[in-house]
């Protein structure tokens, strides 16, 4: 079989503000790959099925990234994804196996070992894209941090930002399962409708409704799940109850511009607020077995609901990266790189 194009989304330059497709990233089809003959050198060849687009990726687009690795100009963007094995020389890996881990935004890739990758069993027959969302890193993020830090008690009030996203929508459902009243914010009426459909007691579009007004009416809040920072965090501080817990997952309002100043930090003291920053890697050892035992089953039987915004084809991945930063995506963003 003749070599085929191996399309890639390359990181091109560090952006000042939002990542712009064609500038921050460029789609490139200059490379080809001979799927039958490419040397594996003891490894395996993957056809990439999907890759995830997450808010945190903006942090990898900084040369002074606080995350351990940042994207390199001329190299592919990468994130968690799922690929299917086409060929393998590695013991324990066979064609048809599905592999989960950090994958480049490209159509095919040879990997030398299973280090940092896992073979998905998918006993509950979930769509493969679920493993980069509700049944993968974003789901783990929500699950671990809620269990570890919410100290949720029945009857309390939770405020969840980006409530239609992969993390936020899971948090809404975890909070409802724990018996809390849930106030949910999102950036479009469509997202608000989804937040309501999964159980949020109050859901509002923060672009058209004042967060402070909603929290003044529906709060005070005992748990704030923060994916936004800035004005949303400030409103949460202003309307926190005594002894509230703040779980700091993300602060997207500051990723692409200077974050709005937070004025109510004194509330931390007056209201005896506890604020928990976390990275999923530190919590994984404690909760990972429980997560993969419980969550895929609950997703499969419909107890846990999720919604995806699927982008077909890597050539549009740059647009998806921008949309997630601007919040114009409709739900958890995933790139369908190849059909199986």
């Amino acid at each position: 079989m003749a070599p085929v194009k191996n399309g890639r989304l390359l990181f091109n330059e560090y952006p000042e503000g939002y990542p712009i497709p064609g500038k921050t990233t460029v789609y490139d089809e200059s490379e080809t790959i001979d799927l039958e003959n490419v040397p594996l050198d003891g490894g395996f060849l993957l056809k990439v099925l999907n890759v995830s687009v997450d808010p945190y990726l903006r942090g990898k687009m900084r040369v002074d990234s606080a995350y351990s690795d940042h994207f390199l100009p001329g190299k592919p963007v990468y994130n968690l994804g799922v690929g299917v094995v086409l060929r393998s020389e590695l013991s324990g890996v066979k064609p048809g196996d599905h592999i989960y881990g950090y994958l480049p935004f490209q159509q095919y890739v040879v990997k030398p070992s299973l280090d940092d990758y896992q073979i998905l069993q998918n006993e509950h027959n979930l769509p493969w894209s679920a493993f980069v969302g509700v049944a993968g890193m974003p789901g783990e993020t929500a699950y671990y941090s809620w269990k570890e830090y919410s100290s949720a008690k029945k009857g309390e009030v939770a405020f969840v930002s980006t409530a239609a996203g992969s993390v936020g929508s899971f948090i809404v459902q975890l909070a409802k399962a724990d018996g809390l009243k849930v106030i949910a914010s999102a950036g479009s009426d469509e997202k608000v409708a989804f937040a309501k459909s999964i159980g949020a007691d109050v859901a509002f579009n923060y672009k058209t409704t004042d967060t402070n007004e909603v929290l003044a009416k529906e709060g005070p809040i005992d748990v704030y799940y923060d994916n936004v920072g800035g004005s949303s965090l400030d409103a949460a501080l202003a309307h926190a109850s005594q002894g509230a817990r703040f779980i700091e997952c993300g602060m997207i309002s500051g990723y692409n511009a200077d974050p709005p100043p937070v004025k109510n930090l004194m509330s931390i003291i007056y209201k005896e607020i506890k604020i928990f920053g976390f990275l999923i890697t530190s919590l994984r050892p404690k909760y990972v077995d429980e997560f993969y035992r419980e969550v895929p089953k609950l997703v499969a039987n419909g107890t846990i609901k999720y919604l995806e915004d699927r982008t077909q084809g890597l050539q549009y991945a740059g647009h998806a990266l921008e949309a997630v930063q601007r919040g114009t995506n409709k739900a958890k963003s995933v790139i369908i790189v190849n059909e199986e």
Copy 2:
């Protein structure tokens, strides 16, 4: 005996910035009291010996105070203090007893009951002023919060702001006792010298030395004890270690003016920082017995050191209130109202 003057420091008007003596507060000698004949109505008459001046009092000078009570124009300023009983009609209270609790800034006062007051035993013969400092509320504040939230481990690095104050200087000593390296900041060379004398490994005047430079060289920091907020908090966020703990006791940089914006809040996430706001009242039940069993003894035998900035006479109390807000006091501020 003829009536005597009963001098009082009255709260006069809510300040915009710093509290100005003669404007925010006025000293008033218009009232008199007949110490031998004033009706006690079943209570007791106190001669006030001392009252404490603490940074948090600025919060009581706001009509929208986040603290439960604020000062009322025309009424005396009040804070924790010690008084000696002159006369009593209350069972269990006798002349010569020393009483600790919230007292008005005035020379003599009749109290109806022991509710909210305690009789000091002073087994270790401390100066009575110690009970509004190292062996009172500020000491309790330091002790309780350090025990509850520092998770201090030997060899870690602590950064303590306002390190010559009543809370900060106690924290320096608690951190050293736990085997930490202590970086201390204060606002004058004299305060820096005191911080060094009680064990701080590194002490600097934040007005003449850049906090970020010191922390870059001597950090990263595992515990930050915050009495300042603003730029100090921002520097601590920038130089925190992974998993650092921040104990939020005060944010004086924002008490008298808009606080400087804090830009490094994203560090909370990247560095998995935990931030603990607290009020002493919530921690007291857990630690109060331990505190009064241990601390007065350690103060008496010199293990725990403290320094006071004593103001003689209520007529100068307004100046002390201002000095503590400006940081021009030399150490823990206490007003000596009457000699015993």
